[in-house]
Every structure is written in structure tokens, then in C-alpha cells.
Amino acid sequence: MLDLMALLLILSGITFFFLGAIGLLRLPDLHARLHALTKADNLGLGLLIVGVALLHGSLLVALKLLLIWLLVLLGSATSAHLISQYALRRSRS
């Protein structure tokens, strides 16, 4: 039962990564593409991590995975901010 739930979570996580990649291809400009990359991948990784934590079943590993998720979150939000700031300033000047 737990394995099935973990499997579903991991599969939906992969789906969101996939949809994020589709967004990267379909959306018209840089800023819109950043939306897809930050938000869809953030959710995808979150679901993936909950799935893997369920599969492993240890609290210590679950917390470690949570830490990884937080670091990726911080990294993607910061880099998205930097890229969009650079693009906006360059388009103005």
C-alpha cells in the first residue's frame, strides 16, 4: 500500500518535470519560460521527494531529502530572479 502510494507520488513528480519541460518549449519568451521551470519543477521535486521518503521509511533520510528540496528551492528561486532581472534590465537599456 505504502509502495503503491510512493509509486504514484514519484510518477506524478516525473509528470510535473515533464510538463515543465513542455512549458520551456512552448512558452513564448524568457520570463514566461522561467514560470514553467521554477514552479513545475519545484512541485515535481517535492512530490518525488515525498515518494522516495515513503519508500525508504526512515525519518533521518526523510529530513535529509527535505533539506535537499529546500536547497533546490532556494537555488531555483534565486537563479530565476537573477536571470529575469538581467533580461529586464538589458531589454530596457
Partner: protein, 183 residues
């Protein structure tokens, strides 16, 4: 000769910092203890249940706590745990909505998007509160931080028709509660 003079002068400055820092530890033992606890948890997570690792870990945790206290900017706001525990489920729920929102937009055959920029006047003043606000609004549905110009935040919206202003106001209030600010 002059080189050693320079280096000894460089050592002097941290020493005076240490003295003023001792006041800080005594004045705010709760802050110091929570940093110690957090860093110990971090070490535990990284090393697992290998208890002999604490031979290295304990000194490192103490030194890291010490350097965090040294480097802490005096303008940082107070951290409120209750406010943070209320912020966390809101943030997780909104970022789930944000992921679903953008995913459903890109798979619909005619993408329902009307991208554009909007300005938002930020009322938060503490640097750490602002950092949390700007970083989390990029993960919320439809908004992405683009640039900060004094108080004015330039935001890219995936769909200008949605009411981003009300959403941002709500997020700002949640963040303000984490850092005990009035907005």
C-alpha cells in the same frame, strides 16, 4: 616586518568583535541555543547515526554558531516561530497550486496566457523579510519577481487578468508575521 604588523592588526579586529559578541550571546540565549540546535540537527542529517563523527561535529557546530553570531547584521528582524508555522502550510499549498496552474496552462492546446509586467509597492522593510517575500512570490501561481527598485518590485505575471495584487498582499502579511513586522 611590515607584513607581520599587518597580520597582527588584522587579528585584533575580530578579537574586539568577540568581546561585543559575548554580550550578544548573554543578551539573547534563546537565539544562540536555537542556532546550536539547528546546526546540530544539520550535522546529524549529514552524517547519519555515526556517533564518532561528533568528535569533528561538535567543534564545527560550535564554531559555526559563533561565526553566525559574529556575522549577524544588527538590522535583521526578529524571527517568530508561530508566524513561520502558519506561513509554511500556506506556502506549500500555494506552490502546489502554482505548479498545477502553470502545468495546466502549457498543456492546453491554446495556451491561456497574457504575459506582462506589473509593479508592486512593497511595504516590508527588513532585509530578511524582503528576501523571503521575493523568493516565495516566484513560486506562487502566476507571479515571478523580476527586479527590485527601491520599494517598487517589478513582477512578471503569466496572466495579467488574474488578481495578483490581492494574492501578493496576502503573502506579504504572512511574511510580515514571520518577522514580526507591521505592514
Amino acid at each position: 616586518m611590515s607584513d607581520s604588523d599587518k597580520s597582527s592588526r588584522r587579528v585584533e579586529k575580530p578579537l574586539s568583535d568577540v568581546l561585543s559578541n559575548r554580550d550578544l550571546i548573554v543578551a539573547n540565549p534563546r537565539y544562540t541555543l536555537s542556532i546550536l540546535a539547528l546546526l546540530s540537527l544539520l550535522w546529524l542529517l549529514l552524517t547519519g547515526e555515526d556517533w564518532s563523527s561528533w568528535l569533528v561535529g561538535l567543534p564545527v557546530v560550535i564554531l559555526a554558531t559563533w561565526s553566525i553570531l559574529l556575522l549577524r547584521a544588527p538590522t535583521e528582524g526578529r524571527f517568530n516561530l508561530t508566524g513561520f508555522l502558519r506561513f509554511l502550510p500556506y506556502f506549500i499549498w500555494e506552490s502546489v497550486l502554482g505548479g498545477i496552474d502553470v502545468a495546466s496552462r502549457v498543456v492546453s492546446p491554446k495556451m491561456r496566457i497574457a504575459p506582462g509586467f506589473l509593479s508592486y509597492r512593497m511595504r516590508l522593510s527588513h532585509p530578511s523579510a524582503r528576501r523571503l517575500f521575493v523568493n516565495s512570490l516566484s513560486l506562487l501561481p502566476g507571479t515571478l519577481a523580476a527586479d527590485l527598485d527601491g520599494e517598487t518590485l517589478h513582477i512578471h505575471a503569466l496572466d495579467r487578468a488574474t488578481d495578483s495584487d490581492g494574492e501578493l498582499r496576502r503573502l506579504e502579511h504572512m511574511v510580515a508575521a514571520v518577522y514580526e513586522e507591521d505592514v
